[in-house]
Symmetry: C2
Subunit: 190 residues, 2 copies
DNA sequence: GTCTATATTTAGATAGAC
DNA sequence: GTCTATCTAAATATAGAC
């Protein structure tokens, strides 16, 4: 991606990209539309031409996040088998450890924060988490595990938990160590 | 606790108790001082006699949370051995599963949300998480494990992760199932 | 110490010129 | 479609009577 917000992609697209980034870094509640507009290099008043409310922009960012996840898993499917796909997922998490140490897991922080809301945004975030669990579950099932659902929950929980600790203590090594532990765990499964 | 906010405990004490409750339920950013004052049954303007800023009240609530955790572990130490203490910890988490499904782990949600802040409040929340890890680590060490630190991180990460999923999907059974899995894991350790 | 009324600030949202 | 200026609502914080 050589494009920055500066370049002449569509403004709507720039706003969504800027929202994804800033919402992850600052959290939903602490992010103002002015913050997003500045990063997207779109005048504040113009935001409302594309999104009627802040919530609609947040929802668009979540949808973009879900789309990005589907693209990632699609490329993961290039790997030969389900075990390799799971380990590739783990390695991706380990590679992102610096970002995670600074800002947490994008999906996890969204779910945690948006859960406090009564409107539908919390369900949109939960949907992304569901995508992740379902993907892991399919791999465990392809490995022939009858307890694929429980294993998928355990894997994603371990990742979300270590993401939170990595972020809380600002220590990327936590993710690296736990990631390797999870890799050994996956190798140990029949 | 037969005391409600109504009773004539000190106002400062009532404000801290109300803050602990409401901050857990609504999150820090979405909670107003008016919310806390209402639950504590203290007039809004009077809050500022006890706390100069909202942040100071939030910090007092975090400190109270840390104090409560120390009291809990002190009573856990009544258990015969380190393995029983860890399993008692797990059973406590399982017992809290309905609250966790609705509002998440109090410590985890605080750490996740406050991490987005630059002031010192994020470190106050991290300290409570540190207490939890240190306690678990002491038990693993007492069990004779050389890898007590790694095990403590894994245990707390598993708990924090399943708390997030339990909350995200509003499903207390997730905590119950994973809690039993973690109990078996602790039993399996030499 | 207590509490009402209000000042101040900020951010979401809109009006209307171009 | 774009953008400046502004409205409005809400929340933190304060003033000052009691």
């Amino acid at each position: 991606m050589t494009d920055s917000a500066k370049t002449k992609r569509g403004k709507r697209e720039r706003l969504v990209a800027a929202a994804s980034q800033v919402l992850h870094q600052q959290g939903v509640e602490k992010t103002t539309l002015a913050d997003i507009a500045r990063v997207a290099e779109v005048p504040l008043g113009n935001v409302y031409y594309y999104f009627k409310t802040k919530d609609q922009l947040v929802e668009a960012a979540i949808d973009a996040h879900a789309l990005g996840f589907r693209a990632m898993t699609a490329s993961l499917d290039a790997h030969t088998g389900p075990r390799d796909r799971l380990k590739a997922l783990l390695r991706g998490w380990i590679e992102q450890r610096e970002v995670t140490a600074r800002y947490g897991c994008p999906t996890g922080t969204l779910c945690s924060e948006l859960d406090k809301r009564t409107d539908g945004l919390d369900r949109a975030a939960a949907e992304v988490m569901r995508l992740l669990i379902d993907y892991a579950e399919r791999q465990f099932r392809a490995m022939g595990r009858a307890d694929s659902h429980e294993l998928a929950i355990a894997l994603v929980a371990a990742y979300q938990g270590i993401s939170l600790l990595t972020n809380t203590f600002r220590d990327p090594e936590l993710m690296a160590v736990e990631g390797r532990r999870l890799e050994r765990w996956i190798d140990s499964l029949a």
